[in-house]
């Protein structure tokens, strides 16, 4: 964190391309936001021209639309439907290939592409989500070596968020809109009719090297404080807020609340919320056999607690009803995640709210089930 604004630098819009080229030259793969099939999503970038210049989004429960902005902002939108999860915990990983051998099958383990990733335009919520997944997948007694390898040396060029959507609540989760930790550089975009600049905070030695190579000028104190104000303004515009510290106990004390029954009727168990969630980590493993039967590929792929098979056990599913599966999802994110991993499992990005086809809003549900201690906008 660089509270010391006198150390902040300024990157003019025209030099953004240079920054990304420098990062590529250092051997990183660029992952950043781009417009794809009508949504602003994270994906591989070729360079600065792939960024969704002049686009923003409109989000509300069950609704997402990418729309034109009146300015040429590069980062003027909130969290899109694709989180960063898939770049570190791949949606489908080949664990091992088995080939018929003389004495049992021969097992060949692959290791996949592990060139380091540079994240461009990751937000506070995105970075918190990565920290949460690190805790689960890299800091337990059995780290997942594939995840660890892909996460190694990730370079982070974060963007301080100035544009919350109608679904965001990162302030409640303490995850944004400002990224305080976990970046090499953090940019705050300042754009209007006359100017287009990025105020640059340096968060690491690697970040320092990058700005030194670009020989960026110091940011004028006025520009720095204007950048801060824009981020503070985003926090103030956040549509919903609740007392996060109360949620764990309030939810777990209400596991038989009648609202779960209503949720069981509304929720379609479509798995959308778990697909877009940046902290969801559940996977399943499966064997795929080729037609000859001589080669088997064993895969691990993303899975969802909303599927009935997820908790399948001889004798049937442990969570046969949608009510119980919804309860598992909500209580896991907001309560039992603390018990399991020492933090909340939610970062307040609002993706699940926007992507739910029936418009279930987790913050609303927490306030109904948790009651008074969890009421919205106290």
């Amino acid at each position: 964190m660089s509270e010391d604004i006198s150390a902040e630098l300024v990157l003019p819009r025209e030099r953004c391309g240079e920054l990304l080229e420098l990062v590529v030259k250092k051997g990183y793969r660029l992952i950043g936001p781009k417009l794809e099939q009508g949504a602003i999503v994270f994906g591989p970038l070729r360079g600065v021209d792939d960024l969704p210049e002049g686009w923003t989004d409109e989000q509300s429960p069950g609704r997402y639309r990418a729309v034109r902005r009146s300015d040429a902002s590069l980062f003027g939108y909130a969290a899109g439907p694709r989180s960063l999860r898939r770049f570190f915990q791949l949606p489908d990983v080949e664990l091992v290939v088995l080939r018929r051998g003389q004495d049992g099958p021969r097992l060949d383990y692959g290791s996949g592409d592990t060139r380091p990733i540079a994240l461009i335009g990751a937000r506070g919520c995105d970075l918190r989500a990565l920290a949460i997944q690190d805790q689960v997948l890299a800091r337990g007694a059995y780290p997942d070596p594939r995840y660890v390898a892909r996460r190694a040396n990730t370079l982070v060029i974060a963007v301080q968020c100035t544009e919350p959507s109608g679904s965001c609540f990162c302030t409640s989760m303490g995850a944004g809109p400002r990224a305080e930790l976990g970046f090499d550089l953090a940019l705050t975009e300042v754009v209007d009719a006359e100017r287009h600049h990025f105020v640059v905070e340096v968060g690491s030695e690697r970040g320092r090297e990058l700005v030194a190579e670009l020989a960026l000028a110091l940011a004028a104190p006025r520009l720095s404080s204007e950048a801060r104000e824009r981020v503070a303004g985003a926090a103030a515009r956040m549509g919903r807020r609740f007392e996060e510290a109360a949620v764990h106990d309030a939810l777990l004390a209400n596991l038989e609340h009648p609202e779960w029954d209503r949720l069981g009727e509304r929720c379609l168990s479509c798995t959308n919320c778990t697909l877009v969630c940046p902290t969801c980590f559940c996977t399943t493993s499966e064997d795929r056999i080729d037609l000859t039967g001589d080669v088997v590929e064993r895969h691990v792929r993303h899975d969802s607690c909303f599927s009935e098979e997820f908790s399948h056990l001889h004798g049937g599913s442990a969570r046969a009803s949608i009510r119980s599966r919804y309860r598992q999802w909500l209580t896991h994110k907001f309560a039992t995640w603390y018990d399991q991993f020492g933090s909340s499992g939610c970062v307040g990005c609002g993706r699940c709210i926007t992507s739910c086809p029936v418009g279930i809003d987790v913050t609303q549900e927490i306030s109904v089930i948790g009651g008074e201690p969890c009421k919205l906008n106290p």
């Binding site: 664990l95 091992v96 088995l98 004495d103 049992g104 099958p105 097992l107 383990y109 290791s111 689960v136 997948l137 337990g140 007694a141 059995y142 780290p143 997942d144 070596p145 660890v148 390898a149 777990l252 596991l255 980590f281 559940c282 996977t283 399943t284 493993s285 499966e286 064997d287 056999i289 039967g293 088997v296 691990v300 899975d303 607690c305 997820f310 908790s311 399948h312 056990l313 001889h314 442990a318 969570r319 046969a320 009803s321 009510r323 119980s324 309860r327 598992q328 209580t331 896991h332 039992t336 018990d339 399991q340």
Partner: protein, 276 residues
């Protein structure tokens, strides 16, 4: 790459040395774990057994912890993986990952009455505890096993049961008796009161259907056994066995990582919540 040397997904391919049919649908499979320099484990721990090309299942280790190079599992064929394992023949290979999870805390029972309660296939995870208790009998004040099965022909390890009967106190009961049955009939809970001598210094370890464990735990606590001296082995769907896949959650716990054995004061309240 260094990280991959400790890959929890890495499978050990071990040779089947013996397959014994226990009942209609249950069999015991013995693997040669010498290549792995033995397979040191705690009674109550489990392995992920891999039927190549089919998939993996969590299966408790059922052999003696004093002879870890003979890796024993007793498996009930109920689905794709377990049916494939049932077809394994001597000399063939099975994939193994493990041992995972926390075993039963046998040390807690030293100097006390050790009461073991098993239902059906639940005898398998307790077998290493039984073998330990027999081999180290003087460590315990008394050792009792209450074992319930559906019918006499569903009893696991029938010949071993006879030999255990002379080394520990054994109550065997079935739901449905047949003509030549000399044991008890009825649920295991009926025999708890008679087996308890010093409830407050008894350590109970249980494995079986969840309803059985709930009723047995209620009976034990009613009779004065502290909840924290009752240990149960729990079961949920498991894909990874090591805390990475999320499948085995039960409220605040990942059963593979935090269990599968728990003291009842920690797990009991969760077992009574439907569909948790």
């Amino acid at each position: 790459m260094l990280e991959f040397e400790r890959d929890p997904w890495r499978v050990e391919s071990l040779r089947v040395t013996r397959v014994t049919r226990e009942t209609e649908d249950t069999f015991t499979i013995e693997l040669d774990a010498k290549p792995r320099a033995g397979f040191v484990f705690q009674p109550g721990q489990f392995n992920m057994l891999y039927a190549f090309g089919v998939g993996e299942s969590a299966i408790s280790i059922a052999g003696s912890a004093d002879e870890p190079e003979r890796l024993v599992h007793t498996v009930r064929a109920v689905g794709a993986v377990t049916n494939a394992l049932a077809k394994a023949k001597q000399g063939e290979r099975i994939g193994v990952r493990g041992p995972f999870g926390h075993g039963f805390p046998i040390a807690e029972a030293r100097g006390k009455d050790l009461l073991l309660i098993a239902g059906g296939i639940g005898l398998a995870p307790l077998r290493p505890v039984i073998l330990y208790a027999i081999q180290h009998r003087p460590e315990f004040r008394s050792v009792t096993l209450i074992y319930g099965a559906r019918s006499p022909k569903d009893l696991l390890y029938p010949r071993e049961l006879l030999s255990w009967a002379s080394r520990l106190r054994l109550e065997t009961t079935v739901d449905r008796a047949e003509d030549d049955w000399f044991g008890h009939t009825g649920v295991v809970t009926k025999f708890i009161e008679g087996a308890l001598q010093n409830p407050e210094s008894t350590v109970a370890m249980m494995c079986g259907p969840e309803v059985m464990m709930r009723f047995a735990a209620r009976e034990l606590t009613t009779l004065g056994v502290p909840e924290k001296s009752i240990f149960v082995s729990t079961e949920r769907n498991m894909k990874c066995g090591v805390g990475l896949c999320g499948h085995c959650q039960l409220g605040p716990f990942l059963l593979c990582r935090d269990g599968p054995t728990f003291s009842y004061d920690r797990i009991g309240p969760l077992l009574s919540i439907r569909e948790l």
